[in-house]
Amino acid sequence: MAKIKYIEHNGKEHEIEVANGLSVMEGAVQNDISGIDADCGGGMACATCHVYVKEDWFNKLPKKAEGEDDMLDQAYEPSPSSRLSCQITVSDELNGLIVHLPEKQL
């Protein structure tokens, strides 16, 4: 279990407890957090669960999956701190993680 803070582009914060094994994307979708679309359902076939992770946390996360950067090329305003939230699996180590949601996904 990890407490994850999702911060919408307009500054609205949601702090959610997400069970281990779920992805950061699933944590958002199951709790109706707007700002993460996840059109493909977690198959890394779209880029609509795009989030930004600030440096302190970015380096602590498991490395990007193969192909994740290719998909991020197609995200809305990607930056070096971009991740696909469907590729971040929640574990105890992620307790306190903060992700920032982009202005939009499409």
Binding site: D39, C40, G41, A45, C46, T48, D69, Y76, E77, L106
Partner: protein
Amino acid sequence: MIDTDVLIVGAGPTGLFCAHQLGIIGLKCEIVDNLDKLGGQCIELYPDKPIYDIPAISECTGEELTNKLIEQIKPFNFNSHLSDRVQEIKNENERWIIKTSKGKEFLTTNIIIAGGVGSFEPRKFPTKNCEKFEGKSVFYSIKDKTIFKNKAVVVFGGGDSALDWAIELSKNSKVTLIHRRDEFRATPASVEKLKELQKEKKIDVLTKFSIKDVKGNETLENVEIKGDDGEIKIINTDYILGFFGLIMQLGPILEWGLNIDKKLIPVNTENFETNKKRIFAIGDICSYPGKLKLILSGFHEGALAARGCFKYSRPNEKYKLEFTTTSKTVKDRLGVKE
């Protein structure tokens, strides 16, 4: 006007297999898809990725699955209308009149929406000012490459489309390629070619930059780009091309008066009909308790929706389940010779 029993919206695996099920029970169908080929996400997003959960096929790629499905529906002689999109619908005497963006008209008893998460459209620049120049000096696809001759062109993107066009246009234009990171996801041969042209100074390559703004009054003058480290550059150019892949949008279907919940269309699980009579939804786009977004679920949903269409198209006949192993009628429809 094309008269048919069923119009299928979307030619992904679900739509294709639904055409098979309609053929088996003797209904005519037409398929419309916004892409220029059959196969939907399978062919557009992951043609080379192996799929392991199609019943009885331990492994096949998106492209192989598509080709097998096309092969399977060949006997039914269905028509597909590609690079076209359903636009508006009108109810007339218990039937639907549908217009497409290319101006085609269909008269159909039933509509089956198998649209996945929507139709594919090119992803555009986030920069608001780009809209002003879209179709004039900002493009997301190329129809006529001669307009770029002897002009300055800035290409954005790191995939095959971006590299292929940068390489092609560098023969006759001054090309700058801009990508947000060092790595390119295009095929290795294209990346190799790009590096060669960069060395020969035939293409300028700028990485770790993305678009910030475009300037110009009547005509485009320059594009401002921003580096990861905050560096700003201004490049004078005649044209800007963006190749950021495709996004999926529901589009005009949203205006049809269907119930929509989180971009999905709720259906009943008896025949996959929506809140509108004679409009069905199957595959990733439909939702019901327990819905799984798997190709195999789409096959099942299509089989039931096809029977749902039968009731409306043949109101005076009683539907009878016939097996392909034994039914002479079905075998005739399949063109099987005994």
